[in-house]
């Protein structure tokens, strides 16, 4: 990342922190005060020591006064240390909250294409870990950096004010601290990056192998898996020893540099004291400073390392926030009287401009008719759904509902006219009731139960541990696939939309549930214009129009009989199936 980019990222980040600038000012002010007060302590410590000159020469009045001052400083420093942490955490967590909200809001208005194309794991990772890294590295780091610099400047200033010569000597030793701190952090950073990579590789292997351990056993692949594991483990070992060694250098090296500063101050200070230019107390002050001189250097170098990775995280966060949203709905029709008529005129569409998909598609759908979309696996049957619902926009041509171009109405208005049940049913973590009422929050208990009954879901819901109040766990894992499908049918049943989009499930649904689903679908379709991605022969036969898709294109359309007479692709498709079906 260039420094210009870094600056921009930082600037944007601070624009997020802006509403909380009072806390920022508070944090920096507190840091300043607490650092200054704590730095004054060694000066007074020196004064106190001077009051304890020797037997019979102790000035108790002076000593008491000094101690009283120190107590004040200590109390003040403590209070401001606390307010500093408090303000920092306020600004940090509020900013983080705003960042997360921005990302989430953006995710809800980007074109679906973005969500389809970006691995969900990456987005979630940015949402959780990257934003945390930003808060740790940039926001908390800022106060640490500030108080670190303040400590160094303050220490040097106070040393110089006590004794110029010794002060300068310490300044001369400063590059040593800087050099050691940056040497270690650079080495450590490099080794850690390497180690993180190897760990990631190992994590991937473990996830893959142990996640599918039963398959691994079926394949008798255990030995080969172990070989692969050992190979990565050996690399991790080699890198890990050095990574850990470098990172553990910080403390001993700091102690050493401190030792050098301490000894130098001790010798020079003692010389000055012998010459009468420095009191023993002042020497004590110096020693106290010397003792913690390297600490802020280490902290700063640590902060800077974190800063870099936090900047990279911030960049990923902003990349999400900067995603182009869908074109605005502003000023479009907010609702039309839908009669179930749908027409597609000269529609062209493709996901990837180099691969043509839908070309010059024309379709006239009468109110209440059933359109079945059929075709082999992966032939792009869902593309049609994507266009009808405006999840994707057609490249050319128009799609009209009741004579109105769907691009001329608000997405919300268009989508409210359709009831959609997808094969990959989607339920959220909430009660069964909430899930059914998803499309109509103010639905009465009676309406919900009626919808569930109409969808043949009522009886199994009643058998759930808490009935309608049963909480659905992670995306519905406590329900069978068939039950989930029934719930999403009930959801549509409740809102009674004029048109339907249905995606028949192909897989693992047990017989009785399957019968229920078919009945529920049939009930749902009564009198409604329906588009069905169909897998079942009965559905296909009973539909008014069949769209036959292959390799992403609509290759034929017509009724069942028409298509059979054509002896084309549908004919082949149908007979390959019928061939086994006949008893």
């Amino acid at each position: 990342m260039t420094s210009k980019e870094s600056n921009q990222t930082l600037k944007r980040l601070f624009s997020y922190a802006k509403p909380y600038r009072m806390y920022l000012i508070g944090a920096l002010f507190s840091a300043l005060v607490s650092v200054l007060l704590s730095l004054l302590l060694p000066v007074f410590l020196g004064k106190a020591v001077d009051f304890i000159a020797g037997p019979g020469k102790v000035d108790f009045n002076g000593l008491l006064r000094t101690i009283a001052y120190m107590a004040l400083f200590i109390a003040g420093s403590c209070i401001f240390q606390w307010t500093m942490s408090f303000c920092t955490s306020k600004i940090t967590y509020f900013t983080v909250k705003d960042l997360r909200n921005s990302v989430y809001e953006k995710l809800n208005i980007v074109p679906l294409e973005v969500i389809d194309k970006t691995p969900h794991g990456n987005i979630i990772n940015t949402m959780v870990n990257d934003i945390d890294a930003v808060s740790d590295g940039l926001l908390q780091g800022l106060t640490q950096l500030f108080s670190g610099i303040m400590t160094i400047v303050g220490t040097i200033g106070l040393m110089l004010s006590i004794n110029l010569g010794i002060g300068f000597a310490v300044i001369l030793l400063t590059p040593l601290s800087l050099f050691v701190a940056s040497f270690i952090s650079r080495r450590t950073y490099r080794k850690f990056t390497e180690q993180t990579e190897i760990k990631g590789e190992m994590g991937g292997l473990i996830e893959e192998m142990l996640g599918n351990q039963k398959l691994i056993k079926a394949f008798s692949y255990e030995d080969r898996a172990l070989e692969r594991f050992k190979e990565i483990n050996a690399r991790l070992h080699k890198c890990g020893v050095m990574a850990q060694f470098y990172s553990s250098l910080t403390n001993p090296c700091t102690r050493f540099v401190n030792g050098v500063v301490y000894a130098s101050v001790g010798i020079l200070g003692a010389f000055s004291a012998i010459r009468g230019n420095l009191s023993v107390g002042q020497l004590t002050s110096f020693l106290a400073y010397a003792n913690q001189y390297t600490k802020p250097f280490n902290e700063i170098s640590g902060v800077i390392t974190e800063f870099q990775s936090a900047l990279a995280s911030a960049k990923r966060v902003f990349a999400l926030i900067d995603l182009e949203p869908e074109p605005s709905d502003e000023g479009l029709l907010s609702g039309i009287q839908a009669d179930g008529r749908v027409s597609l005129k000269n529609v062209y569409f493709s996901y990837d401009k180099s691969v043509k998909l839908i070309e010059d598609l024309n379709l006239e759908v009468k109110p209440g008719s059933r359109i079945a979309i059929v075709g082999p696996t992966g032939s792009g049957k869902t593309t049609v759904i994507n266009l009808l619902m405006r999840f994707y926009d057609a490249d050319k041509g128009t799609i009209e509902v009741s004579g109105v171009d769907i691009k001329k109405m608000q997405r919300k208005a268009l989508r409210n006219m359709y009831g959609m049940v997808l094969q990959d049913t989607w339920l959220f973590e909430g009660t069964v009731r909430e899930n059914i009422a998803y499309g109509k929050e103010d639905a009465t208990e009676e309406e919900i139960i009626n919808a569930a009954k109409a969808a043949y879901a009522h009886s199994f819901i009643e058998r759930l541990p808490n009935g309608y109040d049963t909480v659905i766990t992670k995306e519905g894992s406590n329900l069978s696939q068939g039950q989930r499908q029934l719930l999403s049918i009930a959801r549509v049943m409740l809102i009674k939309p004029p048109m339907l989009i249905l995606d028949e499930a192909t897989s693992n649904i047990d017989t009785r549930t399957e019968i229920h689903i078919q009945k529920a679908f049939a009930r749902l379709m009564e009198g409604r214009t329906s588009f069905i991605v169909a897998h079942r022969l009965s559905t296909i036969k009973e539909s008014d129009l069949i769209l036959v898709m292959n390799q992403g294109r609509i290759v034929e359309q017509g009724s069942h009989e028409e298509l059979l007479r054509k002896e084309g692709f549908y004919h082949k498709l149908y007979y390959s199936q019928f061939h086994v079906t006949q008893t």
Partner: protein
Amino acid sequence: MFKLARYLRYFKKEVIIGPFFKLLEAVFELIVPLVMASIIDIGIKNKDTAYVLQRGGIILLLGFMGLVFALICQYCAARASQGFGTMVRNDLYAHINSFSHAELDLFGTDTLINVLTNDLNQMQLAVAMLIRLVVRVPFLIIGAIVMSMILDLKLSVIFLIVAPLVSAVLYLIMKKSVPFYKARQKKLDKVSLITRESLSGARVIRAFSKQEHEIERFKRANDEVADIAISVGKISAFLNPATFAILNIAILTILWFGGIRVNEGSLTQGEVVAFTNYITQISLALVVFANLVVIFTKAAASAARINNVFETVPTLTDKAGDRSNLSSEELTDTGLDGYPLISFENVSFAYPGTDKYALEDINIDINEGEIVGIIGGTGSGKSTLVNLLPRFYDVSKGVIKIKGKPVQDFSIDSLRKIFGLVPQKAVLFSGSISDNIRYYKEDATMEEIKWAIEIAQAKDFVERLPNGYDTIIRQGGKNLSGGQRQRITIARALVRNPKILILDDSFSALDYATDANLREALKKNLKNTTVIMVSQRANTIKNADKIIVLDDGKVAGIGKHEDLYRSCHVYKEICDSQIS
């Protein structure tokens, strides 16, 4: 924790040398304040510059030697802890590999992954700290107290008060904030759950125009995270000021009482300075000590989990002594003729840890070359039945025989190798398509791979991919459709040219046409292979030589389609629901 300590015996040198040198460094560190006190009390008082230089030199030397010793220790710690981690990790992985399905079910994948990664890292850290700090920190604390006692017994009472006080404060703050951290993590998980839901459900959310509702839901969860984080912030913000206050108040006390002692003549000015140095050292050491306690508490919990895995022995192993190897050739051996290929004799099975039988009193014979269909509702025991064949589990009652011999008589490895299994979930591994197929047969030639791919009806789409057989599978197969993934898993099982092919509802993502073509191809190309097909679709299995109908763990009927349709009402119900 101590059981894992046996691994440390490989690092005896490091474990002894490391702490020893660290101890020397700590000794030096304790001497420094004394040397400085002598500079003040003798050097300055007597205006002896040579003495000052000499003593200053000693401090430098002590510092330098301390550095060298510390580096030796850190290196030992790095070697021992990383070496320890690597060895335990290898052994642990090998041990997990030996687990049979029962143990895998017992622990669950997530636990095992966690033990192998997080828990092991925690142990590794503990070993490093053991070498680096466990000797040093207590020594510094006790040493500083002893040194101060030597300087002035009465004044050292302050130390005995300060040390426990700092410890108590640290303990209190940690104890208060830890539950908050856990709660924060929970809330954060909720934020990530909502994000995940909104991504996977993007179509549904938009179809119902519920974006705003979702944003509200997210904001609520997000607010909770911020609130709790700020609560933790308030508490942990006390940590630094509190230790700072205690330490400095102790220094003030030393100054006052030290002043009295100096006035009496029982203490020198330099010694008071030394006292303040020791108190600083102690408080720093106590902070480190508190961290150590946290690290070792966590490590103890991790060690317990690791040991739990190590102590679990696989329940399903090869019989000791004579175990015959089984090979495809042997199976066609004339010596074993006259027996059915597979026979279930009064087999009952309950999953470990449950008492309800998943399968009850099953009697089935399967002959060579037969195509067998197994059908039944969800939970009727279909998958369980096929999982017993390659001995993923052992039966609870009865016996399963291959060519008349109990499966336990064969070595597990050779037994499993006669099977080709296509699992319900179409899982692909990272690597290319041909790499994936080689999972079943490491040395499969390109011809064999192509042969398998062709039968699995995957040739068309694989060869149309830009990189063909070398196409890299991304994110468990996200770049392929469900049906495509499923066909590759079928090819993977075929490449072994297995004696017995088990298809566990493996056609679910295929459309009817592909399903039909695939069955046709299997029939034509695998004449000697016995095929066992589990399915929910009557269509898929209706032409099988033998259909086994399962209902609630029991056999409801065995026979051909026509007979069963007439005689078995469970089967009839299934067919009627599916066939138009």
